[in-house]
């Protein structure tokens, strides 16, 4: 069956509501996505009928809960092409997943002065500040790829930036501001030459197109449930098993241990080693249901739809006088996230006028302040799309921008 956006929208209860007297036009999915009833129902069923703590009891509720939780892990593993479910570690969000690597792989790599970590100027703060702190703790140096005027990763200095001092490279698979999709192939090849690890911040890619970790050839990826139709409170770190099994724990506590005495503790193998305490059980199960939903529709279908919407949006926005788009101007190698400025109007004001019309966009630095600085603006307005976005919603955005220009004209 072919992709039918009207049918998809029926699964999302929130589209029944109005905002400020207008039908909701939700163009902020890069910030957080809406959730289909299928995901909410699975979570509710877990909470109402099968709630028990995982991996700790022989009782029926605990066993059911454990099977649902581990089942979600297995389905998420196959969704991203992981070698085994044991490579999937549940965290609370992408941010925790990246911090986990910054601490645990940082310790594993025994970083010291002279070593280098490489990121890029287009990173979300969550893939930037953890590395700054790691460098502070260890004396290593942080370096970064720049951004071209077109909003692409500037790989022209690749061989100099990634060199024999480089221990780890971590970049966004897709920029949450510019929409740019980065192909990590050359970067991975270079990192392999110098023996550096590669992490991809896949927070914006895994929700929107098929990602296969083995095909990518990287060592770690991080992504987050609430951006892919799942609940808040759940994220994923995927890592190569061989690497994970060498890494020391990060958070410590119940369930990550093998045996404990007051004097000494030994640790469970991954993934348990990295899941201290009671995990976000219902949330992991919810993310499993989200993956089922996405798979049911088909990631390729979703990507195709978003490409169409993006092409349409780029066109419509380019036609609004005074609008400047930051990032790739064509839908090639870019996703459905479009940031722009309106001449003479501050993004806060753009967002406010749009909200009055029911159009929900994000304004600000989008947790990626260096990107704004790169383009010499304090803030941007961003419209971002998903499988439920329609061309009518893009039209509403364009009409809203006319209104913005009227108010601040």
């Amino acid at each position: 069956m072919s992709f039918d956006v009207a049918r998809v929208r029926k699964d999302f209860p929130i589209f029944e509501r109005e905002v400020n007297g207008h039908p909701l036009v939700y163009l902020d999915s890069a910030n957080t996505s809406q959730k289909p009833v299928q995901v909410l129902d699975v979570m509710r069923a877990h909470q109402e009928r099968h709630n028990g703590n995982v991996s700790r009891s022989v009782h029926t509720l605990g066993t059911e809960s454990t099977e649902m939780y581990e089942g979600a892990r297995a389905r998420i593993a196959s969704f991203i092409g992981a070698g085994s479910p044991d490579e999937v570690i549940f965290t609370k969000n992408s941010t925790e997943a990246i911090n986990l690597v910054a601490h645990s792989a940082g310790q594993f790599l025994a970083l010291k002065e002279g070593d280098e970590i490489v990121i890029s100027e287009m990173e979300h703060h969550s893939n930037l500040v953890p590395w700054q702190l790691l460098c502070e703790r260890t004396g290593a140096t942080l370096r970064w790829f720049g951004i071209t005027d077109e909003g692409r990763l500037d790989e022209s200095q690749l061989d100099e930036l990634v060199n024999e001092r480089t221990k780890l490279v971590s970049v966004a698979h897709m920029s949450n501001v510019l929409g740019t999709i980065n192909d990590p192939a050359r970067l991975v090849e270079r990192a392999r030459q110098v023996g550096a690890l590669v992490m991809l911040d896949a927070s914006q890619s895994v929700p929107h197109f098929a990602v296969d970790v083995r095909a990518l050839g990287v060592d770690f990826i991080a992504f987050t449930g609430h951006k892919m139709l799942g609940p808040t409170g759940i994220g994923v770190l995927w890592g190569r098993f061989g690497l994970l099994s060498e890494m020391p724990p990060f958070l410590a506590g119940g369930s990550m241990i093998e045996t404990v005495t007051m004097g000494k503790t030994t640790y469970a193998p991954p993934p348990a080693r990295f899941e201290a305490g009671t995990p976000p059980i219902t949330e992991a199960i919810g993310l499993g249901a989200a993956v089922d939903y996405l798979t049911g529709i088909g990631m390729d279908e979703i990507h195709r739809h978003e490409q169409e919407i993006t092409a349409y949006a780029l066109e419509q926005l380019a036609a609004v006088p005074g609008v400047r788009i930051y990032g790739p101007a064509s839908p090639v190698s870019r996703g459905g996230t479009v940031s722009f400025g309106v001449d003479g109007v501050h993004p806060h004001d753009v967002g406010q006028v749009l909200d009055a019309l029911g159009v929900e966009v994000r304004v600000g630095h989008h947790c990626a302040r260096p990107v704004c600085q790169r383009f010499s603006v304090p803030a941007m307005t961003r419209a971002s799309f998903y499988l439920y976005t329609t061309t009518e919603e893009i039209d509403a955005l364009a009409r809203g921008l006319d209104q913005v220009r009227k108010v601040f004209g």
Partner: protein, 150 residues
């Protein structure tokens, strides 16, 4: 709906700000940033409040608020400054429950509508908080305004 927020007075102050631009002579300076939206403001004051200068980047609300602040506080005695400052902060934190007094707040009453938009309250307050810090650094206590969260 928007009318409550974008009063003509606010748009006027935004498009034609009063007293904008930093001056070199000052006794206290403060630079404040709104971490969510990246808006920034720098405020400079003389100890006798004969000069209040400012510059910044920001939305219509924060820029208009700075302009109104300049108009209301420059050259006033410290009792008046404390009273106006307190009244403005109180208005902004009232969620619309306080009726503003035009005798005290002048053009500032146009911000009554902003109080109903929690996300914008911090825009309106940004210059006032920076002013308070700048005044403190110039040795003038503007009074214990309630804590404002970023």
């Amino acid at each position: 709906m928007l009318d409550g927020l974008y009063q003509e007075i606010i748009l006027d102050h935004y498009k034609h700000p009063h007293g904008r631009g930093l001056r070199e002579q000052f006794d206290g300076e403060a630079h404040h940033v709104n971490p969510t939206c990246g808006d920034e403001i720098t405020v400079r004051v003389n100890a006798d409040m004969s000069d209040i200068s400012y510059d910044g980047l920001g939305c219509s609300i924060s820029q208009a608020s700075a302009s109104v602040l300049h108009e209301l506080l420059e050259g006033k005695d410290s009792a008046t400054i404390a009273e106006v400052h307190r009244a403005f902060v109180e208005l902004m934190q009232s969620r619309g429950a306080v009726e503003p007094d035009e005798d005290v707040l002048g053009d500032g009453i146009a911000f009554a509508g902003v109080a109903k938009f929690p996300a914008r309250v911090k825009c309106a307050l940004l210059p006032w908080m920076a002013f308070k810090d700048a005044a403190a650094r110039a040795g003038v206590e503007v009074g214990a305004s309630p804590e404002v969260k970023a």
